[in-house]
Subunit: 225 residues, 8 copies
Amino acid sequence: MYSNRSKSSVLPSGGGAALIDPSDALILLLDHQSGLLQTVKDISISDLRRNVEMIAKLAALLEIPVITTASEPAGPNGPLMPEIHDYAPHAVYVPRKGEVNAWDNDDFVAVVRSTERKTLIMAGVWTSVCVMFPALDARAVGYDVYAVLDASGDPSEMASRVSLARFVQGGVKPTSTNALLSELHRTWARPEAADLAKLYGLVAPNYAAVAESYARAQQAAREAA
Amino acid sequence: MYSNRSKSSVLPSGGGAALIDPSDALILLLDHQSGLLQTVKDISISDLRRNVEMIAKLAALLEIPVITTASEPAGPNGPLMPEIHDYAPHAVYVPRKGEVNAWDNDDFVAVVRSTERKTLIMAGVWTSVCVMFPALDARAVGYDVYAVLDASGDPSEMASRVSLARFVQGGVKPTSTNALLSELHRTWARPEAADLAKLYGLVAPNYAAVAESYARAQQAAREAA
Amino acid sequence: MYSNRSKSSVLPSGGGAALIDPSDALILLLDHQSGLLQTVKDISISDLRRNVEMIAKLAALLEIPVITTASEPAGPNGPLMPEIHDYAPHAVYVPRKGEVNAWDNDDFVAVVRSTERKTLIMAGVWTSVCVMFPALDARAVGYDVYAVLDASGDPSEMASRVSLARFVQGGVKPTSTNALLSELHRTWARPEAADLAKLYGLVAPNYAAVAESYARAQQAAREAA
Amino acid sequence: MYSNRSKSSVLPSGGGAALIDPSDALILLLDHQSGLLQTVKDISISDLRRNVEMIAKLAALLEIPVITTASEPAGPNGPLMPEIHDYAPHAVYVPRKGEVNAWDNDDFVAVVRSTERKTLIMAGVWTSVCVMFPALDARAVGYDVYAVLDASGDPSEMASRVSLARFVQGGVKPTSTNALLSELHRTWARPEAADLAKLYGLVAPNYAAVAESYARAQQAAREAA
Amino acid sequence: MYSNRSKSSVLPSGGGAALIDPSDALILLLDHQSGLLQTVKDISISDLRRNVEMIAKLAALLEIPVITTASEPAGPNGPLMPEIHDYAPHAVYVPRKGEVNAWDNDDFVAVVRSTERKTLIMAGVWTSVCVMFPALDARAVGYDVYAVLDASGDPSEMASRVSLARFVQGGVKPTSTNALLSELHRTWARPEAADLAKLYGLVAPNYAAVAESYARAQQAAREAA
Amino acid sequence: MYSNRSKSSVLPSGGGAALIDPSDALILLLDHQSGLLQTVKDISISDLRRNVEMIAKLAALLEIPVITTASEPAGPNGPLMPEIHDYAPHAVYVPRKGEVNAWDNDDFVAVVRSTERKTLIMAGVWTSVCVMFPALDARAVGYDVYAVLDASGDPSEMASRVSLARFVQGGVKPTSTNALLSELHRTWARPEAADLAKLYGLVAPNYAAVAESYARAQQAAREAA
Amino acid sequence: MYSNRSKSSVLPSGGGAALIDPSDALILLLDHQSGLLQTVKDISISDLRRNVEMIAKLAALLEIPVITTASEPAGPNGPLMPEIHDYAPHAVYVPRKGEVNAWDNDDFVAVVRSTERKTLIMAGVWTSVCVMFPALDARAVGYDVYAVLDASGDPSEMASRVSLARFVQGGVKPTSTNALLSELHRTWARPEAADLAKLYGLVAPNYAAVAESYARAQQAAREAA
Amino acid sequence: MYSNRSKSSVLPSGGGAALIDPSDALILLLDHQSGLLQTVKDISISDLRRNVEMIAKLAALLEIPVITTASEPAGPNGPLMPEIHDYAPHAVYVPRKGEVNAWDNDDFVAVVRSTERKTLIMAGVWTSVCVMFPALDARAVGYDVYAVLDASGDPSEMASRVSLARFVQGGVKPTSTNALLSELHRTWARPEAADLAKLYGLVAPNYAAVAESYARAQQAAREAA
């Protein structure tokens, strides 16, 4: 059972015991397609796309594997939002054969298994379908599953609240994009710190203005010195 | 015990292990009556009726049995919304004898049992009463119960949030109409695909416009060719 | 000047002096296109389409002329929502030559003028553009202009509030679909009363349930008699 | 012209110059019917009914004339809410003959004129129709018209905002039930003060609790003395 | 252990197995005081008081015992809202000696125990304190506890959501006033049906208008006969 | 006529021509009483009190005269919030004799007139009453009147929107506390700049954190130098 | 007087008579500074910045002059958001000497006058201050002034509503970023059409997805051909 | 195991069995820094700071130990809000070495352990990161952990809802500042009662006005005696 896997990310203080081990993590981005995005009502399309963009950039920066898939992209559901593969060029795209649930597709599950990673971080449109179904099915066979709610989207606020409850009930761990960033980031004492800092401006746009103010205040102090 | 029933809907990939088995599913539509609809405050009456209409059409299309019932329909509670039996002519109506809780009515429970199906999909008005009471009682005797929150209605936002929590606490699985559609739909590689596609425009009205745009764009491309 | 035109619709009581004269009214439905509909955020797409559907049916029922137009319908903006011409087959479609503002198009203005009607009832997507621009231009040359806010749509709540203010500032009269229905309806003592009654269920969906309850209550009383 | 009428309610300080003169005021309560109330979405039905109840009680207490009317009360629109005539037994009911706009009805206008009062205070359901139409028509012939927005109701928030703008554009003065109470109340130095105090608990339910706390605090002080 | 108590309220169909047994129920109304009511922000004070009024009337009608208590009623917290003892004259008031948590008070717990009832239905202000603390303490010693969220109040929406989650986490069952009414009501085939029907208008004010419309429609049918 | 008064505050650039002249300004704070504050629903009580506190401090800093008054402060309406006279010790309190409208009180109007200032800046609870009535009456005799909406309060969101519309209709200029601060502040090149800067943290609490960040960033730059 | 200036942008149809003449337009971007952005509460910072970015790009594309200014940028207010000068390199920055109101600054007004343009399009933070004050002052000397509400920001929703009302009262025309784009765009039959199309995705992010779907649908049609 | 520790705070009635034992409690205030505060969107910054201020004062009053820490306070994240150490001078500040998760820092965990307290009360910014990570890690090693949601902040409403769910799922107890105050307060029969009473005005600002009204009402009663 994977739950006995020792986590390389647990520190001597005990920190990280309950958190994601980045070396065991696999990101699944499911059906972020232009047509489906129009139906999302629990988050603005710009916030949603910016959050997904952040995940793509984060995965590329920290070298976490990413699998994408799409549901009937030649039909009305439309193409995947291009930011994903633009910012995460290492992502692997797995086509499906009409299955709504990615976990119904043999190829998709095979690629997941081939990574030998047991912590699945999922986001997609709709949350209640494209994330929920593979999340529950993966949980049923022992994966540790995280659902990133605000990098996903549902067609109503009510559906969104229901999805959150159903995830918890099914043993899937709900999270948000900003928490995912911090949970994989872990410490500022690492070489990628400057690049990571920029990602915070994507999940919390006020943070970008904080940084601009900070730089200007320091410049003013130096000029006054 | 039903939980050991093998699901015919589980695929070799493991897909569907945690999802509804359509061949075991029974839909219960409880007290969607014109008078009670006026008291619903957690969803607009037009969204609610359209969601229920979708369930009726879906059940007819996929030949899933439906049982309806009403609470004192000759009194102020009013008649069932006609869309249900219009779009699901195979639905069976069971009158009650004054019981608020459908599960208190012997006839109703007998009809449920006669189907030999163990996965109950319930929706009704009020969520906190007409769905909650039979859901909890059915769960207590081992049924797998789904409550479709947005095909149901409660008299306040607060009551709605409370209902969601009580369902989860009681082991009832909350879901939304769009998720139900997708969970029973399962794959586009089936003969009903075109009919199913139309149902998505009911649970996500933006999707209908997506389809209209798609068709027009293709026509433009063909005309330009 | 049109403002001196005597209104045939003013009653001996003085009723109607400040209201629309149906015989002088012309309805302009501007750019209700599937692609643009996706950008609307101040009203749900289902409410918006149902309101426009109501206007089309009302115009057909009361024989009020309708002009439609679309902005680049072969491009991403997409086709007009089909309900308009389906329910108002007498509507006249005027193609444009790339102009954003319908009033910039000679053909459009010529068709408007040819009706010799001076009360323009406008709706469209976006409110702040497709309705605002021709509304202000038409007002500038003396037309009495009504903007139907909830049969139109804007890309944010803030844009919507701004549009309402700019209409009032510019002398355009804001109205809502339900008010338009009642203002043209005017009295239940007319042959179209039964058909008009059905239209109220479109602008106020609770009203349809009110009517269902009413019919059932009367049936119950008769059965009890 | 009525605008030259001297107001008996203007005080030596100049106070009241811009306010309602109670001796010139006439209250019109239009179509507060049980069926129409179901369609109201810009105020809760309980707040709306309590506000109308307050107006009825206030009119009775201060002996301000009230005229009521209803639209097809034997049909789905339903009966007037009984609180009005219960609490304002002096109110005069004027039946209509199918007219949507009360000002279209000769009898209604005749009764209004017979009071010789020129300040009309109107409320009704829908705001955008049952209040708007007679308000605009009455304003057109010189009446000073007040529309009590929260003793009225519209079928959407957007319709409600539109109604407010159209009233202002048309020279109708918008007001709220609490302001109406205070504007007619005018001073605590009058014999009806105790009765008026109770009415504040209807327009601002927190005020009733304020009064309960006040009485208890005084009792505690007296007991401690 | 109380959980083995046979419920007299379970029907042959199995109905009621998961529901409250009225003969085992005890209602605790905690600190609904005029000063504390001013701090409630998750429900309007009028809705809150009307819901509590309903519980008082329901308890009196069905002869369910009620215990009330107040926190420092001679101080700023103020007196209990008078509706409780007015409408439930059988309610027993237990004074406290400064304890915030009613379960800290020996007298209060003794009165609870003396009823020999094991199903506690609690409401109070604040939800997160006056209901939460005794609810958790009672649950800890084996009581079956229901918290009526909308007959209680918290000082913010966030506090309210937190309270709901903490109840569920602690094994307390959340419910709403309308569900409580229906759960104790159980069937229309009982002598109190007419009185119970009136209570629905308190928890769902639209229902009162539904009933008014129903009566008028039947009258119209009879008059037409 | 006061409108011909030359404004000392108009600069050579033309700046200030349409703005308040501080030397002509008089602040009226009306009925900010603890009991009435409980009934305010269009702004949180903490934001409201902080805004009023800012006005008091601003008036003291810039030596702008302030008049306060209260309605029946020995009764349930309660005492004035103490911050006003604490922070604006120069404010003059004028008791009333039961009048709801301060402009009905001879003493109040006399004190206003004695200042010989013609620009009245008003705030109070309720906006629709305690501010509206004197604002309209003062406007009627030629004063230039500003109503500070967010240093005032109304018993509902709807009443608040109605008040804003009625002010505009009546020629009263609506403003907000932050705008008032800036309009009287006018320039950072003045001796009170540091004190004024602190006031911005009251009307926009994020600004205080901006200033804290700024100081720390400068300190860090200096330490790094 | 500028109002007699003939507009080069009015078409033979009369279109544009009431709209902005691009050749007479001048854009003023006022105090979009990182510190002030933190205080904005009526629009998200990401929407606000994207709208300002759009205006900068539009101005550059259509060669409309832009003037920027900032309030104490070396202090806590912080630097201008860099997007403005990045995307509109032709913009002219005018420093101020501590004045809150840009119209108080001689240099600023001189630069405005030097353009000889009379239609001022303003946006800034705060709306109620940095836009309001120069807007009213400029209007007072005859400029035609537009305030772009959603490219500006206020510290509360209430302040935002108040600002809109005060603009209208003062003769300033309120508009939104999407309307500004369309009003300057005017026709798709121009060489900049493709570049303009991209700007729509900034003011209405759903539009970008509409375009992505359109392109993919056409590709699918071509591939199927 | 700490769960067997006898609680000194359990009363003979059983009261407190499920509540916090103040003598076992330790408060952790994590990263309440001026820069991070700008990114909080689920609570206003003024409410958040006032809640944290209350906790600091409460800890000082009841002598409950407090540990604070900050994430890169010399960088853009900014300094801790000064209220914490101002009002809780006994609080211990533990610097970190770049770790995002305080539980990753050996010093921090060592200080926690040194207190020998097993009930951790945590608040911080962001809730989903700075509170969530140490809360889950501490829970994993057996601490009883409370998360004070409204003394913490997340960058969106959705993130906030997700955090609440993840806390519950992970066995962390969610609470609110007002509940924390009452849970530690426990009884009015203690010497600190007067000081505690003042703290209620911080978590529920209406309560301060309740107290002002109470005092004035008593004064009035005494003066009348």
